[in-house]
Symmetry: C3
Subunit: 347 residues, 3 copies
C-alpha cells in the first residue's frame, strides 16, 4: 500500500512522501525499510530517532523531533491496529471440508464454511457464512453459529449453545459445560441438572482455555463485543455486559452480573449473586464480594515487599483489630490526662 492510501484509510494527516510503499508493520526498534511503525507509549520515545521504519504513526504531541514520514492521528494505537489488520499476512487456514471431519448428516452448512481435520459435529448444528472450524473442535447437538465465526483448534461447544457473528474462540475454549450446581443431602452432594445454555453475542473474542458454563435454568449471557483473555472461568448464569474486557485468570462465580464497558484485571475473583454497574474497572488480583453501584476504579491487590518486611507487616495485620483497640485506649487515656491537667490548671 502507498502511504497516502494508508493515511486515507485511517484518517491521518500525512507529513512526508505520499508514494512511499508500505508492506508490513513493525515495532520502532525492529522495523526494517518498507514497514510502518507507531509510538503510542512515550516510554518508547527514545527508539524513534533511530528507527528504520519507512513511516511512523504518531499523535500530535510526539512528532517534534522526527524527520521521517509521519501519519498523525489522535488515537495512535487504534490507527496502528487498523493498519496492522489490513496488512496482516498471517496464514489463512485451508478452505475445505476436511475428509476426516465427522459431521452428522442433519447438520448442513453453506459452501463458504471451512471445517478442518478431526472435527466432530453432532446433530442439528447450524452455521452462517464463512465460518471456520479448526482441527479437533467438537460441536454438540443443536448448536448455532452466526456468520464469520472462527473456532480455532480443540474448541468445545456443548449442546444448544448459541454464538452470534464474528465470534472468535481461541484453542481449548469450552462453552456450555455444566455449571457447578450441587445440593447437599445430609453431607452428600446431589448434582443439580444444568438446563440453561450459553448465549454469546456478536463480536465476542474468548482466549485460550477459557471456560464458560451453561446456566442452571436461565442462560449464561455474554453480550456484544465482550473480550475475554485466557484461562478465565465464567460460572453459570453470569451475565457480562457489552464491550467489557476481562484479563487472564479471572474467576466469576454464579449469577454475577457485570455491567457494560467494564474492565477486570488479571487474577481477580468476582463472587456470585452480585451486580457490578457499567463503567467499573477492577484492578488486578482484587476480590469483589459485594455489588458495586458506582462507576470508577476499585482495587484490593496487595503488591509484594521483600519477604522479611512483608512477614513483619503481615504478622501485625493478623493483630490489627487489637492494635486498633490499643489506639482507642490511648486516645481515651490522653483525653483523661488532658482533662486532669486542665482541671489541675483550673485549681
Amino acid at each position: 500500500m502507498k502511504l497516502h492510501e494508508i493515511a486515507q484509510f485511517i484518517g491521518a494527516q500525512l507529513h512526508g512522501d505520499p508514494d512511499c510503499d508500505i508492506t508490513g508493520v513493525a515495532s520502532l526498534q525492529d522495523a526494517i525499510p518498507g514497514t510502518i511503525s507507531f509510538l503510542s507509549n512515550s516510554k518508547y520515545q527514545h527508539f524513534l530517532a533511530d528507527s528504520k521504519a519507512s513511516a511512523v504513526i504518531l499523535d500530535l504531541s510526539e512528532s517534534q523531533n522526527y524527520s521521517g514520514n509521519i501519519l498523525r492521528v489522535e488515537n495512535v494505537y487504534l490507527a496502528y491496529a487498523k493498519v496492522a489488520t489490513v496488512l496482516n499476512t498471517s496464514p489463512d487456514p485451508a478452505s475445505e471440508i476436511h475428509k476426516s471431519a465427522q459431521i452428522h448428516q442433519s447438520s448442513q452448512f453453506d459452501n463458504s464454511v471451512s471445517i478442518a481435520a478431526n472435527v466432530t459435529i453432532s446433530e442439528n448444528v447450524t452455521m452462517g457464512k464463512n465460518c471456520y472450524i479448526g482441527p479437533g473442535c467438537v460441536i454438540e447437538k443443536n448448536v448455532s453459529l452466526g456468520d464469520d465465526v472462527r473456532l480455532l483448534a480443540n474448541v468445545v461447544l456443548c449442546h444448544d449453545v448459541k454464538l452470534g457473528s464474528r465470534v472468535l474462540l481461541h484453542p481449548g475454549v469450552v462453552v456450555g459445560s455444566d455449571g457447578f450446581g450441587i445440593a447437599n443431602d445430609r453431607g452428600v452432594w446431589f448434582k443439580v441438572p444444568q438446563l440453561g445454555s450459553v448465549l454469546i453475542a456478536d463480536d465476542v473474542e474468548i482466549g485460550a482455555n477459557t471456560t464458560i458454563d451453561r446456566g442452571a435454568l436461565e442462560n449464561t449471557i455474554i453480550e456484544q463485543g465482550v473480550k475475554l483473555d485466557n484461562q478465565i472461568q465464567i460460572a453459570h448464569n453470569v451475565k457480562i455486559g457489552a464491550h467489557t474486557a476481562i484479563a487472564g485468570c479471572v474467576g466469576i462465580a454464579g449469577s454475577a452480573v457485570i455491567g457494560k464497558h467494564c474492565g477486570i484485571g488479571g487474577g481477580s475473583v468476582i463472587l456470585g449473586h452480585l451486580e457490578i454497574t457499567d463503567q467499573v474497572e477492577i484492578l488486578a488480583m482484587s476480590l469483589v464480594s459485594q455489588s458495586i453501584k458506582n462507576p470508577g476504579q476499585y482495587s484490593s491487590g496487595t503488591p509484594v515487599q521483600d519477604k522479611k518486611t512483608w512477614n513483619k507487616n503481615n504478622a501485625r495485620l493478623r493483630k490489627l483489630d487489637e492494635l486498633s483497640k490499643r489506639v482507642k485506649q490511648l486516645e481515651k487515656e490522653i483525653k483523661n490526662s488532658q482533662r486532669n491537667s486542665n482541671q489541675d490548671g483550673d485549681k
Copy 2:
C-alpha cells in the same frame, strides 16, 4: 408426571391439585404453565405471587401468601434438584462406537459402552457398563473406568489412571499429567520421574479444563463424592477427602491433604505438605499456608475498595510494623507520664 407422583418421589406434602400435569422445571420468573418451580432463596420471594408455574416447591416458612399448587419440603433445593433430574430432557449422546474412534485391539468393552468420534484409546483400557466417551477424548494405556463413567469432549486420561463408577468429567479435563517434580543441579532443573498415578473414587464430578497430576511415587487420590469446579489445579500426591467441594480456579500444591466434607472457595491457594482437617470451609481467594486442625470457617480474602481509599490503606499496610512500634512507644510514654503525674500527685 402428575403432581402427586412428584410429591411422592421427593417426599413432599402436597397442597393443591394432585392431578396437575408437570412437564418441566423453570425459575419462578420464567415459568410457563406446565412447569414446576421452587423458592429456596428468600431473595426471590417477590417473584412468587406472579409466577406462572403450575406448582412451586417451598419450605414451611415461605408459603403463607401463595394460593397456587405447593409441594412442601424441608430441603427445597435438594427436592428441586431431584425433580429436575427426573424431568431432565437434555439430549443424550448417540449410543454407538463411532467408526472414527481409534481403539487398540487389546481394549475390549461391554456392549453398553458408547464411544464418540475421534476418540483415541490405547492398550489395555478397561471400562464397566454404560460408559460414555465423548468426542476427541484420549485414554492412554492401562486406564480403568468403573460403570456409568461419562467423559465429555476432549478429556485426557493419562496411563494407569483409575476411575470409579459414576464419575463425570467435563470437557478439557486432564487427569494423570506429570506432577511438577524438579531437582536442582547447580542451577539447572533435572526432571524427577512421576511414577505414581491418580485414583478417583465413585461419584466424583470434575469441571471443565481442571487438571489433576499423577503422584511422584504414591498416588494422587480423590475420594468418593468429591465435586470439583472448572479450572482447578491439583498437584501430585494431593489427597482430597470424601464429599469435599472445591470452587473454580483453586490451586492445591503437592502433597496437601484435604479432609472430608470441606468446602474451598474460588481462587484460593492451598500450599503443599500440609493437612486440612474435616469440615473446614475456606472462603474465596484465601491462602492456606499452614495445616488447619480445627473445623470451621477460615478466610484471608480482601474485598475491594475504591482505588484511592485502597491505595491509602495499602500504603499504610506496607508500614504496619512501624505503626505498631509507634503505638507501643506511645503506650510507654503514656504510662511514664501517668506514673510521673501520680508521683506529682503524691508530692
Copy 3:
C-alpha cells in the same frame, strides 16, 4: 541394576552390599524389597528404621541410625531423580505414524518420529529426530520442532511457533494463541492483530492446560530449561529467563520480563511492562506490580485466619489510613503534653 552400579551412576559412597539387586524406586513407607528409597526431608526420618527398601539414598547427616544399605550423596533429591529416571518403567507410547493422523503432504519427518491417532499437522511443519506427537495434537502451519520433543495429548501449537530440543508439553497446552490486544474505539474494542510468534528454547517443560500467547509484534520468549507447572497463563511478549521455575495458576501479563533462575509461587500475578531481575523468588499468591531490581525473596500473600478474627482485622484494614492518622495525632498530643509538663517543671 546392582547397587554398586547405581552408586557409580550417581557418584555415591556405598555402605553395604554392592551386589544387591535394585529394580525400582519407592518411598520409605511403601518400599518393598528390591526397591531403593531416599530421605531428603527430615520430616520423613521416622519412616527410615522400618522401611523395607533394599537400599536408601541419604545425605551425611541422616544415616546414623540406619543399618541397611546406604548410598551417601550430597544432593539426595537429585540423586534419587537420576536413579528414578534410569529405572523408570512408565509405558512408552507406540512408535508409529498412526493411520488416522492427518498430515499435510508438505510436512515431512524423520523415520524416528512417532505420531499418534487423530493428530492434525498442517503445511510446512518440521521436526527433528525422535519426536513424539500424542493423540489429538494440532500443529499449525510453519511450526518447527527440534529433536526429542514430546507433545502429549491434545496439545495445540499455533502457526510459526518454534520449539527447541527436548521440549516436553503436557496435555492441553496451547502455545501461540493470540495475545490479548485490543484498542478502544469510542467504547468499542478493535482487535489488534498478533503478528509475533513464540520461541521456546531447549529443555523446557510445560504443564497441563498452560497457555502461552504469541507476541503482538515481537515474539514471546521462553528461554532454556524453564519449567512451567499447570494452568499458567503467559501473555504476549513476555520473556522468561533460563532455568526459571513457575508453579501452577500463575498469570503473567503482557511484556513482563522475568529473569533467569527465578522461582514464582502458585497463584501469583505479575503485571505487564515490568522487569524482574535474576535470582528472584516470589512466594505464593503474591502480586508483582512494579519491577524488582534486587535478587531475593518477595511476598504479599496473606494466610488465612479463622473467619471471625479475619473479618475483624480486615474491617480495620479498610480504615488503616485513618488509624495511622489517629496515631500521628496521638504522638502530637503526647509531645505537646510532655512539652507542657516540662514547662510546668521549669516553673
